[in-house]
């Protein structure tokens, strides 16, 4: 399978793995300490500071690496949470139908009617902002989107003859959901996974930029933009590095997701 990997997917895979590797190995590869002040304010790039320094003289490359760690960790956990809750509830709604479906779907509609950023800001203003709280809030808010997709895909699959055959055999709900529906709903869900992960990265960055996300001195990409945004006025590009990081990560994750999608659809035969 690996030898047939297209060039775009390969590029995506390499860049994505670089980001994830940097995040995992942050404490080994970062040249300085995360909150260590090592130079002057907004120094240009040099041999000691490859990306220069930030608004209070910390090494920007170090901040970027640790920032990536925080951002990617929160986004990944949030995505996992939203997919696990969103798709299980979505499948459940599709399989149960009737009032259970109505209850779940209308609740989700209600939550979706409120813009998620505003909802998140309100919740985070009330509770102490810690990393687990951020993950929970973002995960559950995003689960509504996954719920809608999972439910609509599962409703289609639920009426297939093979699901009816499983029911006639006497199979329980767990078998129907995890063995009959889930494998056939995987392609659209995987495609959505790439997209939702990127939305999570943007979401956490937005929150941090607004000051309600990751709290200093912990670094994250949105926070780095916030800390260095004033430098732009003086022609200092420190705030642009996180933006570039977010953009390249977004593109490369989706290149990989597209490839996974193509591979899984070809296994399905006609459907998909």
């Amino acid at each position: 399978m690996m030898k047939n990997i297209p060039l775009t997917a390969l590029v995506g895979l390499i860049i994505t793995s670089l980001y994830f590797a940097a995040a995992l190995l942050a404490s080994w590869i970062a040249p300085y300490g995360m909150a260590e002040i090592v130079g002057d304010v907004w120094e240009p790039s040099s041999a000691e500071h490859l990306l220069g320094t930030d608004n209070i003289g910390r090494d920007l490359l170090t901040r970027m690496i640790y920032g990536g760690q925080t951002t990617i960790f929160i986004a990944t956990m949030g995505t996992i949470l939203s997919f696990v809750t969103g798709s299980s509830l979505g499948f459940l709604a599709a399989v149960l139908g009737g009032w259970a479906d109505q209850l779940l779907s209308r609740t989700v509609d209600l939550i979706m009617a409120i813009p998620s950023l505003i909802m998140a800001l309100v919740i985070l203003a009330m509770v102490p902002v810690t990393v687990p709280v951020l993950i929970l809030v973002m995960g559950f808010l995003d689960a509504t989107r996954v719920f809608r997709l999972a439910r609509s895909v599962a409703v289609d699959i639920n009426v297939m003859d093979y699901v009816e055959a499983a029911r006639l055999r006497g199979e329980g709900g767990a078998w129907v959901i995890f063995r009959e529906i889930l494998p056939n709903a995987l392609s659209p869900l995987v495609a959505e996974l790439g997209l939702r992960f990127i939305f999570m990265v943007l979401f956490i960055s937005t929150l941090s930029f607004l000051g309600l996300g990751v709290q200093p001195p912990l670094a994250d990409w949105g926070g780095i933009v916030k800390e260095n945004k004033d430098g732009i006025v003086y022609g200092i590009g420190a705030a642009l590095y996180p933006a570039i990081a977010i953009a390249t990560l977004a593109i490369s994750v989706n290149l990989v997701a597209d490839w996974v999608l193509n591979r899984t659809t070809s296994l399905k035969g006609g459907r998909g």
Binding site: D161, Y162, L168, G170, P183, L267, G270
Partner: protein
């Protein structure tokens, strides 16, 4: 030969395939086919699915559907090779000189436009007629095709006419621009047998009166024998036999053609009912939720162990609904289902596992009846695991036994449904049902999506299994030839009621009630002039009344 209106020489058609896990590559799907068609003649193209018959039909319009490419040969229409024609030339050819009638009229008409607008559209855009001329020609064609109220039927929308009428409207659409050639692609396959006759007769008359040439594509030799002058038998993109109707039907030379002609000739001795019936349906009445119309009215039938009850009727007669009631998917409004000496609970969910095990079902579309993500081994193995708790080597052994029983043998366990042919898929579904060791299998149109030769194989297999396993079949079908081949007793259904019920020999012997007579006489027979004789009989009968 040179003045033939359609002349095909060495036609080659190729396509690119994308097998999973392999590099895409090109294959030939039609290998050098040649034929001639003169004005006013009908050539029947016949073959199983994948024979390339539709692809050849579309090649007469220099069109390749999907990723199909016309890679070689010549197609001469009215003296010019259309494979070399410019796009502009092709535009005037398609829909003007050559027109097309597809299998599903319902999917081909735009539901948001009146029929008249769509029927006249090609003639007007090709500049053949003015709007008024085209409309008067359309009315004339509606009349010729025997549509009711030809003056006004064009004002209706597609959903306001029946399937058979819509198929005739599509024929009118194809004939309206006065084409030289019409390609009919399985125009009656999706219709009920009783409707099929009228449409066939209408098409035949219309071809004769307008004097067009026609390519008639179908998988049903009995149908093509009624309308064609010549027949070409195709298999895997190659010509098998090409001759006049008379020669192909009465003196086929090739072995494959002989098999096609003699298909549906399974001989099945009727068994007399013995002992206690395994299934007894008593006074069943049923309706769908939210409606106030009974789709089943007071149904009473019996089925004995090791025997087959065929439930026959047209679409909408309630035969599949009966299956849903018996399986408990649709709880009945009234009446009882006795099964293996006990009363079945109306709601499937509340039935004990033993009831579920002993009552299995096989579906019409094997494609959708199997989870595309499970291997054959998983599909067949699950009932073994679920009902009998078989695991590991024991389960593997039983799966292999079942695969042997359905004549598939080694190496199929790890395949996915997408890697099986249509007939093999249906066999796997049969194995899945057998795995539960059922007393009764409900077969819902199990052969109607299959090619005749493959369907024959499935029927033979089912009969064999019945002998060995002593399993009873409730066989739902609209095809009377299948019924003759497999049934011990027959229930004829019409609009939710059983209009005729009894042993096969009685049900299929005169005197008939009106509906059974209509149904029986509508099954195409493999002989010349059958269509005319049926229509003549009907006219006499209606004159007599």
């Amino acid at each position: 030969m040179s003045d033939g209106m359609l002349k095909v020489r060495g036609l080659k058609i190729g396509a690119t395939v994308y097998p999973p896990g392999e590099k895409p590559h090109d294959i030939d799907i039609v290998h050098g086919v040649s034929f001639d068609l003169e004005q006013g003649k009908v050539l029947g193209l016949i073959g199983e699915s994948g024979a390339g018959k539709s692809t050849i039909g579309l090649a007469a319009m220099a069109y390749g559907r999907g990723g199909v490419e016309l890679t070689g040969g010549e197609v001469w229409v009215n003296g010019r090779d259309i494979l070399q024609s410019s796009k502009g030339d092709l535009r005037s050819l398609r829909g003007g000189e050559v027109t097309y009638v597809s299998q599903s009229a319902a999917a081909s008409f735009n539901p948001a436009k009146q029929i008249m607008e769509q029927v006249t559209e090609a003639a007007i855009t090709h500049g053949k007629f003015s709007k008024a001329e085209a409309e008067s020609r359309a009315v004339e064609l509606f009349d010729k095709l025997g549509l009711p109220d030809p003056q006004n039927i064009g004002k209706r929308y597609p959903h306001q006419v029946s399937g058979g009428q819509l198929q005739r409207c599509m024929t009118a659409l194809a004939l309206c621009p006065e084409p030289d050639l019409v390609v009919f692609d399985e125009p009656t396959t999706a219709l009920d047998v009783t409707t099929q006759i009228d449409v066939l007769m209408a098409i035949k008359d219309a071809i004769r009166e307008t004097g067009v040439a026609a390519l008639y594509i179908t998988h049903d030799l009995a149908v093509v024998a009624q309308v064609s002058d010549d027949i070409m038998v195709l298999k895997m993109g190659e010509m098998v036999e090409y001759g006049t109707v008379d020669q192909i039907i009465n003196a086929p030379k090739e072995e494959y053609t002989q098999a096609l002609v003699s298909v549906r000739s399974i001989d099945h001795e009727e068994k007399a009912p013995a002992g206690v019936p395994v299934l007894k349906v008593e006074n069943i009445t049923a309706r769908y939720k939210g409606t106030n119309f009974d789709v089943l009215k007071d149904i009473n039938v019996e089925l004995h162990a090791g025997q087959t009850l065929a439930v026959v009727g047209e679409s909408g007669s309630g035969k599949s609904t009966l299956a849903r009631v018996i399986t408990g998917l649709l709880p009945q409004k009234g009446g009882n289902v006795h099964f293996a000496g006990r009363d079945l609970n109306p709601v499937m969910r509340t039935r004990p596992r033993e009831d579920l095990r002993e009552l299995q079902m096989i579906y019409q579309m094997a494609d959708t009846a199997m989870n595309p993500r499970q291997t054959v081994g998983t599909i067949i193995g699950r009932p073994l695991e679920f009902y009998f708790g078989l695991r590991g080597a024991e389960k593997q052994k039983r799966i292999q036994e079942l695969l042997d029983e359905i004549e598939l043998g080694q190496g199929f366990q790890d395949r996915y449904p997408a890697e099986l042919s249509g007939g093999q898929k249906q066999r796997v579904c049969i194995a899945r049902a057998l795995a539960a060791k059922p007393k009764l299998i409900i077969c819902d149109e199990v052969t109607s999506a299959l090619d005749p030769l493959v369907a024959d194989g499935i029927l033979k297999l089912l009969l064999d299994l019945q002998k060995r396993e002593d399993v009873a079949y409730l066989f739902i079908t609209h095809d009377l030839a299948t019924v003759r081949a497999i049934a011990d007793s027959i229930a004829v259904m019409y609009q939710g009621e059983v209009v005729r019920y009894g042993p096969k020999s009685e049900v299929l012997a005169p005197p008939f009630d009106d509906y059974t007579d209509l149904l029986l006489s509508s099954v195409p027979e493999m002989k010349l002039g059958w269509l005319e004789s049926v229509i003549a009989n009907r006219k006499m009968a209606s004159a007599g009344n």
